[in-house]
């Protein structure tokens, strides 16, 4: 047999064994195998593969697995799934820090709410500004006393 033909057949041998080629291809492979000891030998080797794999027997952690299963099974019925999983223990210090933080945040929120919701009185006009609202005669007299020439200059310089 030519090595080229053998190459073509050997590529198909595994698929031949797994029944993964067409009937026409099967016939070609069978005919070749009848006359080629080399490919027959390769066929035998490939046939050995599943037998070798079947011999694999890994070590089984029998008791470890059963202990876990038994523990899970023995949890009384009616216990919620949440209760089955033990929550991680939080250190006491962290717990108190948590409570303190919540307290401070609550106080801040209450203060803010009080500030926003309490009605505030209208701002009162400062006494000095009220001078502007006085009757005209009083203003003229006031300007004379203070030395300003016009009311505009007075307002500009006495603006609060």
């Amino acid at each position: 047999m030519s090595s080229f033909e053998c190459q073509q057949i050997r590529v198909q041998l595994a698929a031949f064994l797994e029944d993964g080629i067409s009937e026409a291809e099967r016939i070609i492979v069978r005919l070749h195998l009848q006359n080629c000891p080399g490919c027959q030998r390769e066929m035998e080797v490939l046939q050995c593969v599943p037998l070798i794999v079947k011999e694999w027997q890994p070590e089984v952690p029998t008791r470890t697995m059963w202990v876990y299963i038994e523990q899970r099974i023995k949890i009384p019925q009616g216990v919620s799934e949440r209760a089955r999983v033990k929550p991680p223990r939080v250190p006491l210090q962290r717990k108190w820090l948590g409570w303190g933080g919540a307290l401070v945040a609550g106080a801040a929120a209450a203060t803010l709410a009080f500030f926003l919701l309490t009605p505030h009185p209208e701002p009162t006009i400062p006494i000095d500004t009220q001078v502007v609202l006085q009757p005209e005669g009083y203003l003229k007299q006031h300007l004379q006393l203070t030395g300003f020439e016009t009311p505009t200059e007075y307002y500009r310089l006495t603006e609060f």
Binding site: E18, P50, I52, W56, P58, V60, M65, W66, I69
Partner: protein, 198 residues
Amino acid sequence: MGRKELSTLSDGELVRRAQSGDLAAFEAIYDRYHPRLYRLLYGMLNNPADAADLTQEVFLRAYSDLERLRPESNLYGWLRKTAVNLGIDQLRRQKVLKFESLDVPLENEEGSPFALQIEDVKSDPHTLLEQRGLQEAVQKALGYLTPDHRAVVAMHYLEGMEVEEIASLVGVPVGTVKSRLARARNALRRYLAPYVEG
């Protein structure tokens, strides 16, 4: 009834007893089937811790579904189907991570048979044979396969499941399963050369 006597009872009888609250009967079911399920899952996942977790999960599901199990039904078939489904789910979750295929170069059949150098499998197969033995060699060889190939090898070679059943469980055409098996066989033939060429 003692453990030895329980081990002689049929699956149906054990299921009946377990349904009536006999934990020893359920343990007998576990004793009977857990090695096969563990091996199947280990073969599929190539990870003993994951295999143990999922084996436990199979039995916990069986226990919680005990009421619905019919004693005359195929108990092992149910357990195996649950195991395979859990295994496939696990493989799908793992696929999210980038996977670097180790046996693609074998399929290309170009140049060196091992594009990625893996320990001493290529350099000295006889050392592998002598030092590690068949068990470890098979375990390693399975580990070198892609997850898809490993899963079908575990189901077909280790468990003897039919190709049609595998196809329906994995959700691929029968032809794909056969093709994966053929490629995996070629890859294993190389990895296990010292044993198969005997």
